[in-house]
Amino acid sequence: MYQYDQYDQQLVDERVAQYRDQTKRYLAGELSEDEFRPLRLQNGLYIQRHAPMLRVSIPYGLLASAQLRTLAHIARTYDKGYGHFSTRQNIQYNWPPLESVPDILADLAKVEMHAIQTSGNCIRNVTSDQFAGVAEDEVEDPRPYCEMIRQWATLHPEFAYLPRKFKIAVTGSERDRAATQVHDIGLQLQRNAAGELGFRVLVGGGLGRTPIIGEVIREFLPEKDILTYLDAILRVYNLRGRRDNMYKARIKILVKAMGPEAFADAVEKEWQHTRSDPALQLEDADIARFRNQFPLPAYRTGIDASAVDGLLSDNASFKRWYTRNTVGHRQPGYRSVVVSLKSSAQAPGDATDTQMEAVADLAERYSFGEARVTHQQNLVLADVALDELEALWRALDAEDLATPNVGTLSDMICCPGLDFCSLANAGSIDVASDINQRFDDLDYLYDLGELRVNLSGCMNGCGHHTVGHIGILGVDKKGEEFYQITLGGSSANDASLGDRLGPAVSKDKVADTMEAIIHTYTELREGEESFLDTYRRVGMKPFKERAYG
């Protein structure tokens, strides 16, 4: 993975010193709340319901074991012994004292990490496919481009005070696992007919209170032009995005107001100036240097492809885990393992310090010292040899990290909700727990197949409810927690926004309603048909009748 050089390290160290001074001035009363707010936000610090929340950046989801150990250390030393992995491949701590944040950032800097631009109206952490570099359907590894974009965006002087936050996702595979269609900018790496590499560029996607699927503004952008083109998009947005109303300030509103064609024209016009900018134009050597930072691991050859065959036929527990929590790998003899953070014992996406350390150790032993964070709030050990799968499975199971539920109903995406977040209208973790208890039969979960349930505690949509196959949105009705349910959303290649089932239901009815939806599906599905396909075929009516009947 990418390793800092002297230059990167110096920048992060100087950022820590700068923020230490800003915190000192704030505590001394030299900076007002309003003045300090964007400074702390651009270092990842929110003021939340109970305490500040610190969001640490995990660029495109990649973590070395030493970094994961530092995250565990921070959870133990400054927090209550756990962290929450978010859908944008960051980790959030819910209890760090404001005064300690400079020390936390200094600890992070020692392992080449930071919290720069994880919040605020600026370019946020660049996210990507958790199977980058190992996926069987990959066109090209997106990580070198992600790192390039990370550097370009980091402390960018022109784009630090944008109208609103700005999120970029990059994918390099046929299957979109990075939700690129619901990002401010989505980049899909591909080859053209001539075999050249480039990006399909989407803009204006997003969730939140105005969910929109992104529009393609350029079918093929040569790889060397990526920074010049991003520069053009950001400048058009910085100059023209609305600043009078924060709910109308995202780029999606601008794209919608101008129309995608007019927006694309404005970008193209700006790009005619920026595309020849020597400061941003990439040379072959630049791209090669970034690519060389992501070499293939030293894979073993001659691994017995039948290493787990016996276990698969004899051990039902292992088979479940293998089927749900491991995926095919480009390298013969290897699989990628998803470490489930969705055990019924913890809030979705949470990991304790001990679990993080365990994964760090296991990554070192079985996966070249590297782990990844997924958009679905799980972890991944990407390069595991078949003949070591059993040992890894047993070790994960001992830490409650082998719940064989990846991609099933209980692998919910879930925001921290009312328990932690000052924006939330309703709880999310307890609702997830209710649903988990209702659907605790693993065989039944498998039978239901691929089912994405996404849960947000408010319309800001951090739990991506609008693109869940089943989406659950917490709303406040006269001081009581209610839940609006949607069906048919997706953030994959066939992206769509969910449709409303009907009136919101009270908290104690969410699990019942889920059951009604699931029963309707199992009665109506044809053969192996997935929930999403069934819904798209039969429409809302039967679900609605059953849920409110």
Binding site: E14, Q22, N121, W152, P157, A160, N238, L239, A279, R289
Partner: protein, 162 residues
């Protein structure tokens, strides 16, 4: 009171006077006027004794930037520090139009933004009156490296780093 920094140094004797749209233009001395006024009164403004600068804000259309290049001073106004539009105006003036006069930030200009402003090409700062310009001077040295380069310097990607 003017709390002015130019080229990273405090300036005690600034000759420039900002003339509000409703106020009369003095016959002598260096003044700035709004872009709107400049357009309406260009002829009269050209006949007086003293230099002329123009003030613009985030609404200024960037297509018009090349009409300003002969001016010795362009003022970019930040009504609130969160309004980041004029960072783009400054960068375009320097990088695209090779403007080499003074670009001065006014309005909600604070210590924690001046380094970003400078990197976009702003070289003079009227620090908000209730803050000390001396303190703001320290902000310029907080970073010795950056990824974007200063106005005309190359983006220091890996391959090009010495």
């Amino acid at each position: 009171m003017v709390n002015l920094i130019r080229e990273r140094a405090l300036v005690a004797d600034d000759p420039w006077l900002h003339i509000a749209d409703e106020d009369p233009v003095p016959a002598d001395g260096d003044i700035t006027v709004s872009w709107q006024r400049w357009q309406e009164e260009k002829d009269q403004l050209g006949t007086r004794n003293g230099r002329l600068g123009v003030r613009l804000d985030g609404d200024f259309p960037v297509e018009e930037l090349d009409t300003l290049l002969e001016l010795p001073l362009i003022v970019v106004h930040f009504p609130a520090f969160k309004d980041g539009r004029c960072y783009s105006h400054a960068r375009l003036l320097r990088a695209r139009h090779d403007y080499d006069g003074e670009i001065r930030a006014t309005g909600d200009v604070l210590r924690d933004q001046v380094a970003y402003m400078e990197r976009c090409g702003i070289n003079a700062f009227e620090i908000r009156e209730d803050r000390a310009a001396e303190d703001a001077l320290r902000a310029f040295d907080e970073f010795s490296v950056d990824y974007q380069g200063r106005s005309n310097r190359a983006f220091p990607l890996q391959a090009r780093r010495a």
